[in-house]
């Protein structure tokens, strides 16, 4: 086994500062489980976190893996490990299983490549970030490699992609820690645990995931089943983190959906420049929710001809106004411009006529409604809300009210005035009701009568938003 020289280690440092940061870690006392063989060197470095960082370096293929949150590759732990090894302070032992698995995986992916990885300097870009489990479908998850000189805009975009990639990698590593330490870990009850991660995701241009993390923090301890709710959301975050790092290998529409869900913003002008989806759009429902310090209004529209759903969002910070141009129970002939991917989100473009009323969307039975919901969730399992309109009566079991017909039931999560209005209007009879499916139950938004529609969706606090 030929050990590297310190100069070779210096050669792969991304910056001189990284090397300086590594030097304090080049004492054996800071490491546990040190070992090396003719292919790799590994060890666990005690850092500032509760858990040591597991570091491994393939000194033949020149790649590193570390569980630290650093976005630099190789990180200071990998550099310190190599410096220790070059100084002869790392004993030769047999590879532990995680190192062997990582190397095996690298071997598999290397067979699909033809790049030269033999010299330290020429192969620095081969250094892969941590947590590089192979994707479902087997695509590589190496971050985009910088390509020569390019226009500033492309460079900025690539930098942004790299930041997002690093953020998703860190998210997945964080999720992995949660799996290891368990949901009973008291750290989960501290908002800071989630907020710090959310802040890092914002830095990484993954703002939508950051919002999701903050919402997730609110689930901890919120119900007797919170462990199940939180675990499900962690699973979806893992799905998004994995998919987001493989955008290039996903089918186009799915890649678009993942990118926008992760937080890749699309300019409104670009959306409005797309091909319009022209129809008579029935304004089936409205729903307001507060997300952090922003009030979000969802208008659910359904094409009278196409039958397709669309979601028009509006946002209001404190004392700002929400969109009041769409009235539930009316229909408007208009162009909708959809965001990329299969997502329902759209912008309203040109309107071709005055709104007509009354208008009500077609209603399905509960089994068919579940089928429609399942189709949308199969395409995008991370959706929080899915609209449907069903003809159903109200049933009750204990304190839980539900939509019911001969095919089955769907639990309602309404309370207060919306539930009372739904009950009063339905009496004991079936009514057409537009709802949002959510993982926790069904939120009734609109009751459709022959002559009008009654908007019972959650409404923004008048003290927060101002009248339009």
């Amino acid at each position: 086994m030929t050990r590297w020289s310190p100069e070779q280690v210096e050669a792969i440092a991304p910056t001189p500062a990284a090397l300086s940061a590594a030097r304090p870690l080049t004492t054996v006392a800071k490491w546990a489980g040190l070992g090396a063989d003719d292919r790799a060197v590994w060890g666990s470095c005690r850092g500032s976190g509760a858990e040591p960082y597991d570091t491994m370096v393939d000194h033949v293929g020149v790649a590193s893996r570390c569980t630290c949150p650093s976005r630099r590759h190789p990180c200071k732990h990998a550099l310190a490990l190599l410096l220790l090894w070059s100084a002869g302070d790392v004993p030769e032992t047999t590879q532990p299983a995680p190192v062997a698995a990582w190397l095996a995986k690298r071997q598999v992916s290397d067979t699909g490549r033809s790049s030269d990885t033999t010299s330290p300097r020429s192969s620095t870009t081969e250094t892969t970030p941590a947590n590089d489990a192979a994707p479902v479908g087997g695509a590589t998850d190496t971050p985009p490699e910088p390509v020569g000189e390019m226009p500033d805009r492309d460079r900025a975009r690539d930098e942004r992609v790299e930041r997002m990639y690093a953020g998703l990698t860190e998210l997945d590593r964080w999720l992995d820690d949660r799996m290891r330490t368990g949901l009973a870990d008291p750290a989960l009850a501290k908002y800071a645990t989630w907020d710090e991660l959310a802040a890092r995701l914002v830095d990484a241009q993954a703002g939508s995931l950051a919002n999701r993390i903050r919402r997730l923090a609110g689930l901890v301890g919120a119900s007797p089943d919170w462990h199940s709710d939180v675990l499900a959301e962690l699973g979806l975050l893992h799905l998004l983190a994995q998919a987001g790092r493989r955008l290039g290998s996903l089918p186009g529409p799915l890649a678009d959906a993942v990118a926008t869900t992760v937080g890749w913003s699309v300019r409104q002008a670009d959306v409005l420049a797309g091909v319009p989806d022209t129809d008579t759009w029935i304004v089936a429902a409205r729903s307001d929710t507060r997300e952090d310090r922003i009030e979000v209004r969802r208008h659910w529209l359904r094409g009278a001809t196409s039958g397709r759903w669309a979601l028009v969002l509006s946002f209001a910070a404190y004392r700002q106004s929400l969109d009041t141009s769409l009235t539930v129970g009316t229909a408007v002939a208009a162009d909708l411009h959809r965001y990329p991917g299969p997502a329902l989100r759209a912008l309203v473009g040109a309107r071709h006529d005055e709104p007509a009323e009354p208008a009500r969307p077609p209603a399905a039975d509960i089994v068919s409604a579940c089928g429609e919901i399942g189709m949308l969730l199969a395409a995008e399992p991370w959706l929080d809300r899915v609209p449907f309109t069903a003809t159903a009566s109200i049933a009750v079991a204990g304190s839980t009210f539900m939509l019911a017909d001969a095919g089955g039931t769907l639990p309602l999560i309404a309370a207060g005035r919306p539930l009372a209005t739904l009950l009063a209007v339905a009496g004991g009879e079936p009514v057409d009701v537009t709802c949002e499916w959510t993982p926790h139950g069904v939120v009734p938004l609109t009751v459709h009568l022959d002559d009008r529609s009654i908007d019972i969706g959650p409404r923004a606090d008048d003290n927060f938003v101002s009248a339009a």
């Binding site: 698995a101 992995d176 290891r180 979806l236 009750v396 009372a420 009063a424 002559d451 009008r452």
Partner: protein, 275 residues
């Protein structure tokens, strides 16, 4: 991917197992064996650690469970309330009630009593609002329950938070006379004759006094009481006279307010006329 047919699996049970392991963490307990359907998705990937295998299983199981959303077991719908043979009031009257409670609450008692005497019932979507609004006042609660009909008791049976409370729940039921009596409003003696005077006379006197500044903003409260209780057939003439006051007049703001009240009351009584 496995090519064997996936046996029927209880995803609920396998999810519960995953939750149990997730509570403890994979440092303490290994993830369960993936059930066939899930294994088809995750087994062809290289997962070097238990936590990575666990995450993959959790993600796949959530995705499959979500896409396979199914209704719960069928249940009988709740039985409806007894039928109410009275016709529902027109939608405009219900809209007017919303305007009345937000802008002219002084008219609410009259709205309700007119509805009752004319033989209407309130539309069902107004019932929760009425029951919530009148939970403590015994007489108004009694009127609301009469206006809502059998639906009121039925709804309270399902949603006890709508039940009467305070005096309305502990005192004996009010008499029919108490329910039917419109509460009196304070009106100064010098304005009392206008309550019963002919419409043109009231319009002339009221508009003249406001336009000249004899009646000013300080009289607003009693003037509102006057318009809320004057003869119904005077309302049109009074509203027209008040609306005619010039925008430059000192009395214009007060006249506009009273004209709106007069028009609101006039429309309200028209909409709630007998079916």
């Amino acid at each position: 991917m496995r090519e064997t047919a996936a046996p029927a699996v209880d995803l609920r049970a396998s999810w519960d197992e995953l939750v149990a392991v997730a509570m403890l963490g994979t440092d303490r307990r290994n993830p369960p064996e993936a059930t066939a359907v899930i294994a088809d998705v995750v087994d062809d990937t290289v997962r070097s650690t238990p936590s990575e295998r666990m995450l993959a299983q959790v993600a796949a199981t959530v995705a499959v469970r979500r896409a396979g959303v199914l209704p719960g077991p069928a249940r009988s719908p709740i039985a409806g309330p007894d039928t109410d043979d009275r016709p529902g009031c027109v939608p405009a009257a219900a809209d007017r009630w919303n305007h009345v409670i937000s802008s002219w609450p002084v008219l609410e008692d009259e709205w309700m009593l007119t509805l009752l005497t004319s033989g209407w019932r309130v539309p069902p979507d107004l019932v929760p609002e009425l029951l919530t609004r009148h939970r403590s006042d015994q007489i108004r609660r009694a009127r609301a329950e009469l206006a809502c009909g059998p639906l009121a008791g039925w709804l309270v049976g399902h949603l006890p938070e709508l039940a009467a409370r305070g005096a309305a729940s502990t005192q004996p039921d009010p008499s029919a006379d108490d329910i039917a009596e419109l509460p009196s409003l304070p009106i100064p003696p010098d304005l009392e004759p206008l309550l019963f005077a002919d419409g043109d006379q009231v319009a002339r006197q009221l508009a003249g006094a406001i336009d000249s500044g004899t009646l000013v903003h300080a009289h607003r409260a009693v003037l509102i009481n006057l318009v809320a209780r004057m003869r119904a057939d005077s309302l049109g003439a009074v509203a027209t006279a008040l609306e005619a006051i010039d925008g430059s007049s000192i009395g214009f703001p007060l006249a506009s307010v009273l004209a709106d009240l007069a028009r609101t009351r006039q429309h309200m009584l028209d909409e709630l006329g007998r079916p």
